[in-house]
Every structure is written in structure tokens, then in C-alpha cells.
């Protein structure tokens, strides 16, 4: 395969599609993470939340469809993937709530608390898979995946629609102002009568819900099953995209598009002799490091981030 084939439609169209899909996961996760971090809670647990969301969506969809599929192997029931997505969001929110309780109420080191959740996400799914499917690596394949509208899953449209919505909520509503003030100067916010704890709880739970949604997209939107460690660091890349995007929805859109493109390029070049796949797989991570070192110097995190609030 020569260089010229880069520019062919056969290469560019799948590249475009894969870029949007990869971006969707990062965008949903990073926008969720923005709520948490803007309120002053570091959320390194995004990776684990994606995994829990993906697990919930795949397992619940498979269990829900089991009676239908038993009668007709190709049975399509429209509501099943949506219920699965809803459950994934609930579980994601629940994991967010755990992170919130430990790091807000018990004032734990937020990075350690998040790491614990990531470790939990590395071990717990195997127990669930062993219980339902007698193996520890993958779930059964799901027939009723998320539908596609005009070539893309509805969640892709939702992710991009969330960018202006998040921007509006964050910068044009009283609640968004309160959220940001809690992350910048919780003492002042508290003096003004804002409930710091409740605001932070809500923000962290929202980030869990969105990460769970991203996980559902991963397992029943892109693939059709849960595979162990399927998130493969995308939660961390989303976190880096959030920092690179300067904790702003538009910045996050730009940075997730960049990272999504890098990942898509890696996938598209995977089978070719242009670059060895192992080298390409490292690209997004190297870019992330370069970005963090070189360009982030000017971006300023929320002032109270990482600090538990003492009333």
C-alpha cells in the first residue's frame, strides 16, 4: 500500500467514521469529568466508570433479550438497548456517588479514591462475568445493540449536542455559576449560602452518569459485548483531554477530536504496512504527554481542585 492510498475514499470515509466514534467516548467522558473537576473534585475514576457502564449495558442487554432470543435467535426488541443504557447510567452514577462519599464526606485523597475505583473496575467485572457466563474475560454477544441513525449511533449525536448544552448550563445558568464558585472558592460559596457538599455530590454523580453512558456506547454501540479492560485507557485520555481543553466545553470538543482522530488513525493504519500497529497504538499516549508538558502551562485548573472542603 503506497502513500497515495491515504487520500482515497476507501481510506478517508472509515477514518472519518471511526474518528467520530472514538471521539464520542472521550467527549461524553470528558464533559462529565468537567462537572466533577469544575466543582473541585478530581475524577481519575472515569476509566473505572466507563468499564462499569460497559459491563452493565452488555450484561443487562444480554439478560433482558435472553427470553426473546431463545424463541428467535435474531429477535429485535427496540427497548432493550435503551433500558441497558439507562441501567449503565444508573450504575455509573452509583460509582460516582461512591467516589463522592469517600472523597467529599470522608475527605479522602481524591486521586487515591479514584485509583481504588479503577482497581475495583479491573477485578470486579471478572466476578460478575464468572457468575453469569462461566468465564472471566468476556460476556455473551448481544443481539440488540444500539440502533444507528444515518450511519451513527444516537449517542454520537447526543455527545456532540451535549457540548453546547454543557456550555449553556455551565456558564449561563445560576446552577453553573454556583458549581464553578464551589470549585474556585468553596469558603466564599458557602458564605453566600451555597451548599458546597450537595453541589459537589451532584457534579460527581453527573460525571459518573456520563461516563457510564460512554461505557454503554462502547459495549453495545461500537461492539456487541463486554470484554475485560475494554476501555484500555480511554478514561485517562479523556481526563487529559479535559486538561488540554482547559476545562471548557469547546476546548474539550477540540481536544477530544484530536485524540479521537489519533486513535482512529491508529485503527485504520492497523492492518497496513505503513506503520506497525504497536507503534501507532502508543501515539495517543505520547501526544497526551507532549500536550500536558508543552501547552498546558497556560491553562489554569479550578483553584480548589483536589482539596476536600472543611466546613
Amino acid at each position: 500500500m503506497g502513500i497515495d492510498s491515504f487520500l482515497s475514499a476507501a481510506f478517508l470515509i472509515p477514518l472519518f467514521q471511526t474518528t467520530l466514534r472514538s471521539t464520542t467516548i472521550l467527549l461524553l467522558t470528558a464533559l462529565g469529568g468537567m462537572f466533577s473537576e469544575r466543582s473541585g473534585v478530581v475524577n481519575i475514576a472515569l476509566e473505572g466508570m466507563i468499564i462499569f457502564g460497559a459491563l452493565t449495558a452488555a450484561v443487562s442487554a444480554q439478560l433482558l433479550e435472553a427470553p426473546y432470543v431463545a424463541q428467535n435467535p435474531g429477535a429485535h426488541v427496540w427497548w432493550i438497548p435503551w433500558v441497558a443504557v439507562l441501567l449503565a447510567m444508573i450504575v455509573g452514577g452509583f460509582i460516582g456517588w461512591i467516589h463522592a462519599v469517600v472523597s467529599i464526606k470522608y475527605k479522602a485523597d481524591q486521586i487515591i479514591s479514584g485509583t481504588a475505583i479503577n482497581l475495583l473496575a479491573a477485578g470486579f467485572p471478572s466476578l460478575v462475568l464468572a457468575y453469569f457466563y462461566d468465564n472471566t474475560t468476556a460476556s455473551k454477544e448481544v443481539v440488540n445493540r444500539l440502533p444507528e441513525w444515518f450511519g451513527f449511533s444516537p449517542l454520537v449525536y447526543l455527545a456532540f449536542a451535549l457540548v453546547p448544552i454543557t456550555w449553556y448550563v455551565m456558564f449561563k445558568t445560576p446552577w453553573g455559576l454556583r458549581l464553578r464558585s464551589v470549585g474556585e472558592h468553596p469558603e466564599a460559596a458557602d458564605t453566600m449560602g451555597i451548599n458546597v457538599f450537595r453541589t459537589r455530590y451532584t457534579a460527581v454523580i453527573i460525571s459518573g452518569i456520563l461516563a457510564g453512558l460512554a461505557g454503554a456506547f462502547l459495549s453495545i454501540g461500537i461492539l456487541n459485548q463486554f470484554v475485560r479492560n475494554m476501555s484500555a485507557g480511554q478514561g485517562f485520555i479523556a481526563l487529559a483531554a479535559l486538561i488540554f481543553g482547559k476545562w471548557h466545553p469547546l476546548g474539550v470538543l477540540g481536544s477530544t477530536l484530536l485524540f479521537g482522530f489519533a486513535k482512529a488513525l491508529a485503527i485504520q493504519l492497523g492492518g497496513t504496512d505503513i506503520m506497525p500497529p504497536t507503534v501507532i497504538e502508543a501515539f495517543p499516549f505520547i501526544i497526551t504527554m507532549l500536550v500536558l508538558a508543552g501547552f498546558v502551562g497556560t491553562s489554569r485548573p479550578p483553584a480548589a481542585i483536589g482539596k476536600p472542603y472543611e466546613k
Binding site: Y106, A108, I112, L119, S126, D273, M275
Partner: protein, 601 residues
């Protein structure tokens, strides 16, 4: 109240549960009822004593109750094992070929009564003035212990939910719950089971060896206020470097003429240093990025884990890569064959197995025979005795002399006639190797460097109060890079266990290199509260649990991931301070609580 695990017979206070008709011989436990009455009485008395007016009398009575409880527990345990023994002997006397009761154990009821007695003793201490201050002073033990207990309870709930017991029909709800409780108890018995056998200890030490390294690595970072999640990547690069030295340098043709002893003296230390250097490099990069550009080390170390994994795969998955359809890169690292693995480490760079170090060798029939050498024990004794006796000497000299004494002891031991004996194949099959000794030295180094040198003091100062340290003349940037480099080196040394010591069954780099032990190091460091002895003990604890996890998988079909889940929960609960009151976790409040005996709180 007494149980035989798995598919077996369960003896409870409401009768014997023999659901599978397996009881061949039963121990005589007719005394069980009396003890049950006793424990109920004990509980009632404990409640009554709470209403005694005087603290001193309350404390005294609780002490008595607790001690009596412990004594009764010991009596019970003795009676139980005696009954089993008697039943076995009776069966043997009646002509059975082997003892019918092979696996038996105390069950939940017994453990609970034991813990309850300890709890009563603690309550007794709490009645006296200064009781809470004492607990707070011991918070370095109390917080991990409570977190550990909570994690075990959570693990028990998970096993309860996920693992069903299949009883014959009509077994009844009471029996069902009893059997389930026993299943949970048996799960933990299996997890802690390796503590009961010599080969179990050996296997646990084997699994603990890399955990000690990674636990130290994470703890080292924590002491300097850095969170090093990069141990997996540092381990990987350490493994690659040690492979390059141990395989490609040691096998290079221009060293072919070296005598064995000389080659060993050169390449073994060199390969170990290479592992440390690889890890140090991979740790220093995020340290430098933080010092120079302020990029947070957590995200960078995570990114470098993935990059290291890519490099690792790149090197051992294939020997030929094409770039842009034109240029082909040839590499010499992958061993021919389907599986991705490197060539074997040269004999001269291998770390000997522990059984070899103790003077045992496998003979032609496969049995492990030899004379137990005096070298290792003498070296250890010489080291400890000299170190303790030379308390007057300056620390550096003291260490040097102690090390010299250890070497002398090793040599003297080599000339003494050993004790001939034969090892059981089970014990000899455990591949515990010399890397464990390196790990022990790493623990000693951590203790020495962090608490006995100026550099270590400055590092801890940076971790506790960066601004104050900077004001005192410490360069935070330099300390950050240094701390990350040493932390990385410690993680990299874990590779010596896997590659040079044959920790993954072969003396080579394999795709199955378990880099996840780098993450396990976080749990080890937190459970050990970043102290040298704590890291060592918690690594050993996880070694035991992971060894027991194998049995768990074999006997009950519960995935070994349960242990991973316990680890994660321990990290979570310790982060939350064990859900204990604030004066256990906040240093200032803790100091006040310790003073509480004198009436500050």
C-alpha cells in the same frame, strides 16, 4: 458452629447438617450445647456490666470476661481437634485404610467467639482513662486493620450474592443460610490457608517478592508527596533492559571465553543494575516533566504505562517491521515461534533459586536432595548480631562492618558440613529465588535512606510541607526527579524476579509478564502505611491471599479476582480512613486526641 468445608458435613448448634450423606465418621461434639449457653451468658453479662457505675470496675470485669472468653475458645478448639482425632483413631482401629476425616476446621461461630473475646478486652481498655488516646496512637495499625476487616465483610457479601450453594430439595431455609454462611467462612479459610503449610509460605513469599518491590516504589513516591501509578511501566522497561543485558550482552560472542565464575560476577550484578536503571529512567521522565513543566505525575505515569506496554510488544511480538511500505526494520529480540517471547537469559545472569542457595540440587531421579548449607543462616545471624552489637559505631561504618560480617559468615558456612536432607517435591517446586533477598535488601535500603540520611529527611520534608522545605533550602525540582527515579528503580527491580529469577517459569521475557503487580503495589503501600516493615508485611499478606486464591478457584470455582477486589476495597477504605472518626486520620486532631488523656478534648 463447626464446619467441614465445601461439599461436606456441617455441625451446628441446631444439629448436624449432612446434606450429601457423606458422614462416615463423626467426631463426638456433644459438649457443643454447653458452650453455646456459655457464649450467650457472656454476651448478656457484657451488656449488664455496661451499667456498672465505676469505670475501673467496668474495665476489670471486661478484662475478666475477655480472658475467660479466650480461654474457653482455646478449650473449644482443643476439644474439637481432639474429637476429630479420636474419631479418626476409632475408624483406623475399626479397620479403615486411611483416616476418614481429612479436612476439617473450626467455623464461623468459633472465629466470631474469638474475635468477640478480643473485642471485650478492647472495651475493657477503653473504659480506663487514655483508652482512646492509645487507639489513636496506634492509628498506623488501627486504620489498616479496620479497612481490612471492612473489605473482608464486603468480600463476604459479594461471595454470598454471587456463589450459590446447591442443597438437596427440602433442605429448609435455616440449613440454606447456615450452609451459605459456611461457604463464606470457607472462602476466607482457603484464602488464608497457605499460612498453614511450609510450601504455602514459600509460594506466598514467591508472590510477595515483586509486590515488595512495587509496594516500596509506591511508598517511596508517597513519602515525597508524589503518587507513582507508573510502576507497571517502570517494571516493563526494567524487564526489557535486564533482558538486553542478561540475554544479548551476556551471550555476546566476545565474552564467550570468560570462565563461568567471572562471567557470573560480571553479568549478574550488571543485569540487576540494568533493571533498576530501566525503571529509574521511566520514573525520572515524569518526574522531570513535573519539575520542569508542572505536568501532573499521575497522568504522565499512566500514559507511560501504556507507552511501555507498546514498546514491550514491539520488541517481542515480531522481528520485522515495515514502515511506509518501504523501509524494513530487523530486530534480534524475539525468539522464533508463535508465542511472543525473548531468548533465554544466559546462565551467568540468572538468579539462583532459593533451594539452590540453601545447597539443594535435583538429582537424576528428580528428587531434591543435598545438604542444608550453613551459609545463608550464618550470614543472616552474622549480619544481625554485628548490627545490634556495634551500636556505638557511626551508622555508615556499622552497616559496612555488618555486611562484611555477613559475607564472612557466608564463606565460613560454606566450609561447614551441612545437614543432609531431602526436600518434599511440593516445596522444591516453588520457584522462590534470590530476588527475594534483593527485595529484603530493598526494604532495608528504604528504611535506611528515608529515615537515616539527610537526603531522605529532605525528601520527606518535601512530601509533608513543600513550601517549608523550599524555604529551608531544598530544591523541590531536584527532589521530585530524584524521588521518581528511585521509585522507578525499585519498581524496575521487580523485573529481576520475573526475568532473571524465572518468576514466570522461564528465564526470559514473556508476553504474560504480569505488569499489574505495579498497581497492586498501591494497595501494598497504603496497607503498609508507607513504612518498611508495613510494606513487607502487607506484601506478604497479599502473597498469602493470592496463593489462597488459587485454591479458591480450584475448589469453589470462585475467581481469583476476588483478591483483586479485596485489594481495591482496601485502598478505598484506607483512603476513607477506615470510616473512623476524624481524629484517627487528621494529624492535628490525632495529636489532640492523644493528649486527650490529659484533658484537652
Amino acid at each position: 458452629m463447626r464446619a467441614f468445608g465445601g461439599k461436606g458435613v456441617l455441625i451446628t448448634i441446631w444439629g448436624t447438617l449432612d446434606l450429601y450423606g457423606r458422614a462416615k465418621a463423626m467426631p463426638d461434639v456433644s459438649w457443643l450445647g454447653y458452650f453455646t449457653v456459655f457464649w450467650v451468658l457472656l454476651a448478656v453479662l457484657a451488656v449488664v456490666f455496661a451499667f456498672l457505675p465505676e469505670a475501673r470496675t467496668r474495665a476489670r470485669f471486661y478484662y475478666i470476661l475477655g480472658l475467660v472468653g479466650l480461654a474457653v475458645f482455646a478449650l473449644e478448639a482443643y476439644l474439637f481437634y481432639h474429637a476429630v482425632w479420636a474419631a479418626n483413631n476409632a475408624a483406623l482401629a475399626a479397620g479403615a485404610r486411611r483416616p476418614p476425616l481429612k479436612r476439617y476446621s473450626l467455623s464461623l461461630g468459633a472465629y466470631v467467639s474469638f474475635l468477640y473475646s478480643l473485642f471485650l478486652l478492647m472495651i475493657g481498655r477503653m473504659q480506663l482513662p487514655g483508652g482512646r488516646a492509645l487507639l489513636v496512637r496506634w492509628r498506623g495499625v488501627v486504620v489498616p486493620a479496620v479497612s481490612m476487616l471492612l473489605a473482608m465483610v464486603a468480600g463476604a457479601v459479594v461471595v454470598w450474592v454471587l456463589k450459590d450453594v446447591k442443597l438437596p430439595e427440602g433442605a429448609g431455609l435455616l440449613n440454606y443460610y447456615t450452609a451459605k454462611l459456611d461457604l463464606v467462612t470457607y472462602t476466607f479459610q482457603l484464602l488464608f490457608g497457605p499460612l498453614l503449610t511450609a510450601s504455602g509460605w514459600f509460594q506466598s513469599l514467591l508472590i510477595a517478592t515483586p509486590l515488595i518491590f512495587t509496594g516500596l516504589a509506591v511508598a517511596f513516591g508517597f513519602q515525597a508527596g508524589l503518587f507513582n501509578i507508573g510502576a507497571p511501566g517502570q517494571l516493563t522497561i526494567g524487564a526489557i533492559m535486564t533482558m538486553l543485558v542478561g540475554v544479548h550482552l551476556a551471550n555476546a560472542h566476545w565474552f564467550a571465553g570468560l570462565p563461568d565464575g567471572v562471567a557470573r560476577a560480571i553479568f549478574l550484578p550488571l543485569s540487576i543494575i540494568a533493571a533498576a536503571a530501566g525503571g529509574a529512567l521511566w520514573g525520572a521522565i515524569p518526574g522531570w516533566l513535573k519539575a520542569r513543566y508542572g505536568a501532573h505525575e499521575v497522568i504522565n505515569t499512566i500514559m507511560m504505562n501504556y507507552i511501555a506496554a507498546s514498546i514491550f510488544l514491539f520488541m517481542i511480538a515480531s522481528n520485522e517491521y515495515t514502515f511506509f511500505g518501504r523501509w524494513t526494520l530487523h530486530m534480534p529480540f524475539k525468539y522464533p515461534g508463535y508465542e511472543g517471547r525473548s531468548y533465554e537469559v544466559a546462565e551467568s545472569a540468572r538468579i539462583p533459586l532459593m533451594v539452590n542457595l540453601f545447597g539443594f540440587h535435583q538429582d537424576a531421579s528428580g528428587a531434591w536432595t543435598g545438604a542444608m548449607s550453613w551459609s545463608m543462616p550464618l550470614a543472616l545471624v552474622a549480619l544481625v548480631v554485628t548490627y545490634v552489637l556495634l551500636r556505638r559505631l557511626e551508622l555508615g561504618k556499622r552497616l559496612l562492618v555488618a555486611l562484611g560480617a555477613a559475607i564472612a559468615g557466608y564463606l565460613v558456612g560454606g566450609f561447614l558440613p551441612g545437614i543432609p536432607m531431602q526436600l518434599s517435591p511440593k516445596l522444591a517446586s516453588v520457584r522462590l529465588n534470590g530476588a527475594f533477598i534483593i527485595a529484603a535488601f530493598a526494604v532495608a535500603f528504604y528504611n535506611y535512606y528515608m529515615w537515616r540520611t539527610r537526603d531522605g529527611y529532605e525528601l520527606r520534608a518535601v512530601g509533608l510541607a513543600p513550601k517549608a522545605a523550599e524555604y529551608g533550602g531544598v530544591s523541590i525540582a531536584k527532589k521530585t526527579i530524584l524521588a521518581m527515579a528511585i521509585s522507578g528503580a525499585l519498581a524496575g527491580l521487580a523485573a529481576t524476579h520475573y526475568v532473571l529469577g524465572g518468576g514466570i517459569d522461564e528465564y526470559r521475557l514473556k508476553q504474560s509478564l504480569p505488569t499489574n503487580v505495579g498497581f497492586d503495589g498501591i494497595a501494598v503501600a497504603l496497607l503498609g502505611q508507607n513504612t518498611p516493615i508495613g510494606v513487607f508485611l502487607s506484601a506478604l499478606l497479599f502473597g498469602v491471599l493470592l496463593t489462597g486464591g488459587l485454591q479458591l478457584d480450584l475448589q469453589l470455582g470462585i475467581s481469583r479476582e476476588l483478591v483483586m477486589m479485596l485489594q481495591a476495597l482496601i485502598v478505598l477504605f484506607i483512603a476513607a480512613g477506615g470510616f473512623l472518626p476524624r481524629y484517627f486520620t487528621d494529624p492535628i486532631l490525632a495529636a489532640q486526641a492523644e493528649e486527650g488523656a490529659k484533658g484537652v478534648i
